[in-house]
């Protein structure tokens, strides 16, 4: 089935599905205003998971910032309902793979390496299929990296 999934993903590549808050833009946040990724995606450098910011994190700024903008108003509604925002998943690794953001970020891999030039995108696109080929290519290239040598051991990701 794996390959079937690949095909599907190839199709998805470069597409940006509609999001619950269409006005939200990484370009504005990460690009124009140079907000570091880790500011919102807390824990990406110390946990396998790059956390999707909690609604409270957004409200941290948007209590005050741009409260008149439609997107922020939608956000505020979610906040008032104390409800999670059902963001649509764009970057998705195959099942049964244990990817860890922590190791990659601590090794100094830029987020853009896998997520594309996100700071220029209004809507998050699937920059790479994130299939095994994608991972292996990079790992092979850095096998003998002096500081952060990678590994091609299957157990690195498959557990």
């Amino acid at each position: 089935m794996a390959n079937v999934l690949d095909v599907v993903k190839q199709a998805q590549q470069g597409q940006a599905p509609p999001q619950p808050i269409p006005q939200f833009s990484h370009k504005i946040h990460a690009g124009d205003n140079h907000i570091p990724c880790l500011y919102c995606h807390i824990g990406a450098d110390k946990s396998p998971v790059a956390r999707v910011p909690a609604v409270s994190t957004c409200m941290g700024c948007h209590k005050l910032v741009g409260t008149d903008k439609p997107g922020v108003i939608m956000l505020t509604q979610y906040w008032n309902r104390q409800q999670a925002i059902p963001w649509v998943k764009v970057n998705d690794i195959p099942d049964h793979v244990r990817f860890t953001h922590e190791r990659h970020i601590q090794a100094g891999i830029a987020c853009q390496t896998c997520h594309g030039e996100i700071q220029t995108e209004d809507h998050v696109k699937l920059a790479h299929t994130l299939n095994m080929g994608f991972c292996v290519t990079c790992h092979k290239a850095r096998l003998n990296d002096p500081v952060h040598a990678t590994s091609l051991d299957c157990a690195t990701c498959h557990k």
Partner: protein, 447 residues
């Protein structure tokens, strides 16, 4: 050669090429029943596919059982075909000419059946293509150390070669049928005949090609089943890990193959009144070969037991003690009776040429050879290294039986079609063995 009195080229053409028309209603009935069984087998397989292999009787330690048994059985069957058509051809054994077409067909169809089982037996058949080395974005390869990968190559090669050999060998005969037919059939035969005109150039090339393929196929007869035997010999299980497996399996293969040839030819001969073509002489020769290979097999059994005892290896000793006297010892005794004792009847010429007797004996051999594989696989696995895992044995469920029956139906489906639509016997070569004076009848001379 008395039996062949009165035969002429024309008569041979008549008799052989007309078989397809002489089948009649009986054929339809048999074919229908066959399809019924096949359907049942397919249903069982789908059931297994959706529920998981758990619907079979498989368990630890019997992780392999009936399916692999069938695989080895059918691969074995596949051997005699090429043996008869290739090796005996090179050795110029006259008696092969009457029967080689049937056994070649059998070969091709048997391989087609055998090929199913490694797949049916997979836990995740939808990934079967991972066993084939192909470049992929994952940058992962197959494990060339694994005998299963060798199987993939061995079996596919064998199938390709024997199929081509089969088709090439039929060209002149198909041409002959083409000339007698009309309508759609004629078109089809014309296609298969590849424009054969029977010119001497045609014949020259044909003969060369045929010899070439015979030479090419000969080593395969030995290699394929050796490779299959290594599935077991390469593993360290007591009862498997043995150096005699390759020759032992090849002999067994020819043994079972020959037996099935007889089993198939006897009814055809009766149904289509071909007593003139397939004579006691042929059966006698085949019976001798069965007796010979049967004794090789028997000898191998004895060697296995002797080595188990002589090596002093406690695991081997235990395994072979269990094989004969363990919880599933009965299977061993069925095998021994069918493969070692019953064939000894063939020492008597009377039994070799008395068709019903011979027929029954070959049936026993077929059963026996199936059980040989079953014993080797299941019994050895049950007598594995870890005493904690020893378990009473293994009980197949209706799924295994259903799929096994289905595989026979699958084989016979092709064979019935073959009898119906293709020259069941080699017209060409039958003509070759006619004694000279009979090559043309007086009438024709006069005319």
């Amino acid at each position: 050669m008395e039996a062949m009195k009165g035969l002429t080229y024309r008569k041979i053409n008549e008799d052989i090429a007309s078989i397809g028309h002489r089948v009649g209603k009986a054929w339809l009935v048999v074919f229908g029943l066959d399809l019924l069984v096949l359907t049942f087998g397919i249903c069982c397989w789908f059931y297994q596919l959706f529920k998981g292999l758990g619907v079979t009787g498989y368990t630890r330690p019997a992780m392999w059982a009936v399916y692999i048994t069938n695989f080895v059985f059918w691969v074995g069957i596949a051997h005699s075909g090429t043996l008869i058509s290739a090796i005996l051809f090179l050795f110029r054994a006259g008696w092969r000419q009457a029967i080689y077409r049937v056994s070649e067909a059998m070969t091709v169809f048997a391989v087609m059946t055998a090929g199913l089982f490694p797949l049916i037996h997979l836990g995740r058949i939808w990934f079967f293509y991972w066993l084939i080395p192909y470049p992929n974005q994952r940058q992962i390869w197959v494990n060339f150390r694994s005998p299963l990968v060798w199987d993939v190559f061995a079996v596919s090669t064998y199938f390709t070669v024997s199929a081509i050999f089969f088709v090439v060998g039929m060209i002149p005969d198909i041409a002959a049928m083409r000339d007698r037919e009309t309508g759609l059939r004629k078109k089809l035969y014309s296609l298969l005949a590849l424009g054969w005109r029977g010119t001497s150039r045609n014949w020259k090339h044909y003969a060369q090609t045929y010899i070439y393929f015979a030479a090419f196929a000969t080593p395969l007869v030995l290699s394929v089943h050796s490779v299959v035997s290594w599935d077991f010999a390469m593993a360290q299980n007591p009862g498997w890990h043995s150096t005699i497996f390759a020759p032992y399996f090849v002999a067994g293969a020819i043994f079972s193959g020959m037996a099935l040839v007889v089993t198939l030819i006897v009814p055809i001969r009766k149904a289509f009144k071909l007593e003139q073509y397939i004579t006691d002489w042929h059966f006698d020769a085949m019976a001798k070969l069965i007796l010979f290979t049967g004794n090789i097999v028997t000898y191998s059994y004895l060697v296995e037991f002797f080595m188990a005892w002589y090596s002093g290896n406690p695991y081997e000793r235990q395994a072979f003690w269990d094989r004969a006297f363990g919880p599933m010892g009965w299977a061993f005794w069925v095998m021994a009776a069918c493969n070692c004792i019953i064939p000894q009847l063939l020492w008597k010429r009377r039994n070799r040429t008395h068709i019903p007797t011979l027929f029954v004996i070959t049936l026993f051999v077929n059963v026996g050879m199936w059980y040989e594989r079953f014993v080797i696989i299941v019994q050895s696995l049950n007598a594995n290294f870890s005493p904690w895992i020893w378990r009473g044995g293994y009980k197949p469920t209706f799924v295994e039986w259903g799929i096994t029956a289905g595989s026979f139906a699958w084989f016979f489906m092709y064979f019935l079609l073959f009898v119906r639509f293709l020259p069941t016997f080699s017209i060409t070569e039958l003509k070759e063995i006619l004694p000279r004076p009979f090559r043309r009848s007086r009438k024709e001379k006069a005319a």
